[in-house]
Symmetry: C2
């Protein structure tokens, strides 16, 4: 199979699912729905398996995939979703343990890719948060494995795809779904004997890069590989931004004073300011400090920002502590690199840490799990 497709940005996996739905393919979607102990990937990790045996995305570092292909084949044939458990608890177990090298039990849901998944990929394509609810065990109720419902933050309660069971979904699932959609996390909720996997698909984190110098290229490239939705903003005569920064999802050419009007500067927006033009940087930073963006990274030495603050002060412009605390200059983590790619690597690493609310440090010094575990309260039984 095409191993090169296994390690792709997560955004590409969902884009591929979207394409294959449009192709009316007979693909099988594999999703990790539970991990006990440790594993390479966390619940929600997806892999799309096609009839040719090619896979896009990965749910382990490799050793389960071949077995998954066989399992996918049977799911494709009898057309019914399957829940498979891989017990990797025993590292000496040479069937699985050696290959994965972690102590974990992994539950994987395999299902034929159908139209019932379209609302998920369409929300993702529109950068809307969404929670995908999938029945793992129906128990004695009318719902059966693979039945699906959605929670859209903009809507009210749960919605179900056309032609699928609607009334039977417990309304109590909406609250946990709302939390998971917002945070892009997953959990499995039980209501009586109904067991539902809730897959929160948060819209990709927004990264807006202000600047059009060649040093913007590596930042855009590395950010896209890390699943950011990247917008490159050029000023004045910036031309060919799409051609020069092919990894950008969007490009905008505007004037430094129109930044706040032209762009959606939201709480989930992360901004990197690297125009290398003091006045353009100052105009941009001023509007960013007035906005609610989560992160403002400013390239250049700290005394350059001090000069900016002095000029703001002369003009009577003041900013609250929260805004100023969101500004990082010099930009990036202290990794010691000096080449364009090393600088970009340290910038993207900083944005990753901030967007994930992490304190950058060696993982060996961190207590607890590497991956966040979000657990929402189960609704009253």
């Amino acid at each position: 199979m095409t191993r090169s497709n296994w390690s792709v940005p997560e955004t590409e996996v969902l884009q591929r699912v979207h394409e294959r739905l449009d192709d009316d393919s007979a693909d099988v979607l594999a999703t990790i729905v539970d991990v006990e102990g440790n594993a390479y990937r966390r619940p929600g990790a997806k892999m799309l398996l096609d009839e040719a045996g090619d896979g896009v995305g990965s749910i382990t570092a490799g050793c389960l995939e071949d077995d998954l292909l066989a399992a996918a084949e049977s799911v494709r044939e009898d057309g019914r979703p399957e829940l498979i458990t891989y017990d990797l608890m025993d590292d000496e177990d040479d069937v699985w343990g050696l290959g994965v090298g972690c102590n974990g039990i992994i539950d994987v849901l395999l299902e034929p890719l159908t139209e019932t998944y379209r609302p998920a990929v369409e929300a993702f394509a529109d950068s809307r948060n969404v929670a995908v609810l999938t029945v793992l065990e129906g128990g004695d109720g009318p719902l059966t494995r693979g039945d699906r419902a959605y929670y859209h933050p903009a809507g009210e309660g749960l919605t179900t795809p056309e032609g699928t069971p609607a009334d039977e979904w417990p309304a109590a699932l909406a609250d946990p779904a709302a939390v998971l959609a917002e945070r892009g996390r997953t959990d499995t909720i039980e209501v009586d004997d109904l067991e539902v996997f809730i897959d929160g698909l948060a819209a990709p984190t927004e990264l807006v890069v202000f600047g059009s110098g060649h040093d913007v290229g590596p930042v855009t490239e590395l950010a896209a590989k890390n699943d950011f939705h990247v917008t490159v903003v050029g000023f004045r005569g910036s031309v060919d931004l799409e051609d020069r920064f092919p990894d950008a999802d969007e490009t905008v050419t505007t004037s430094p004073s129109a930044v706040a009007d032209e762009l959606d500067l939201e709480e989930r927006t992360h901004a990197v300011v690297m125009t290398h033009n003091f006045i353009d940087d100052r105009l941009t930073v001023e509007q960013l400090l007035d906005s609610s963006v989560a992160y403002i990274g400013l390239m250049g030495p700290h005394d350059r920002f001090e000069k900016m603050l002095a000029e703001f002060d002369d003009e009577g412009r003041t900013f609250d502590e929260d805004a100023l605390s969101s500004l990082y200059t010099p930009i990036g983590l202290d990794l010691g690199g000096g080449s364009p790619y090393q600088i970009a690597h340290s910038i993207v690493a900083e944005v990753l840490a901030v967007s994930n609310d992490r304190t950058p440090r060696h993982l060996r010094t961190r207590e607890g799990h590497i991956h966040d575990r979000v657990t929402v309260d189960s609704p009253p039984q």
Copy 2:
């Protein structure tokens, strides 16, 4: 000009210089020889400019390059090296200051690319440290701007390219050259009225990745972009490693017990262990702990390493504190990402920080200069 060539890994710039020397080209080499204040790049940053006006590498984030092309043209015509100073101290200066956005004075040496530079690129190609000594000001002595000498750690004292002044080089330059070659840093040394730029070209940092799972791909790709010399080591039936990991400089297929024999595990070697096979990982880690490698990153949860230590203990194997302190598990910086590329980004970020002797943290919390400044004692006058 081809802006896409500006942001390339530094290793590619020197590889390109090597190729162009072989092509007997009429290119011009630009090197930052001094930075006062702050700038995007540090001394030693290089850019190769060809007759067509294409540049490879970058010495600023963009705005100086066009002027450099003009300057390069005149250097190409009269065939003599030139030293150009760009004063960016005044950020309001709309000729340069606005474009670079840093308070700095940058000295750039422009010289026709000649055979006198070949020893530098050949040492780099062979992964040998070397210091390139270039005369900036000859003063009243016989040496003139652009005259060149080399310090090879393996050799004795300074050597000079054939057909260039040899006896006139002050022997006192050998000591600072030795330090700079080792550390890959630069400095300008004055002996009486002779001014010499010493460019230490340390061999690329060695990164050895143990494993052949698809998750090795993103690690190899991102490490290569960050100028590591990457070797992928596969065990047993690993096939097609070159095809599967095209960004690797070398690939080796061996047995887990032969790691120490097959590979040069030196002090500048950084190792990433991600075979996802407990026994293979243990055998590899044991040999790495017995070696003098600078860094051992082990993928997997910490309790997995605890189990390894317990087994070493059962076998009566012990390791000293230094060795154990070089082992990082879970591997990577705490950036919070969970996709294959995010995991790889955090691994490469950790190796960068360790290889540059940095404590990973936000640069805004760091005191002093972003770039290391190495100053070696000037020889007695």
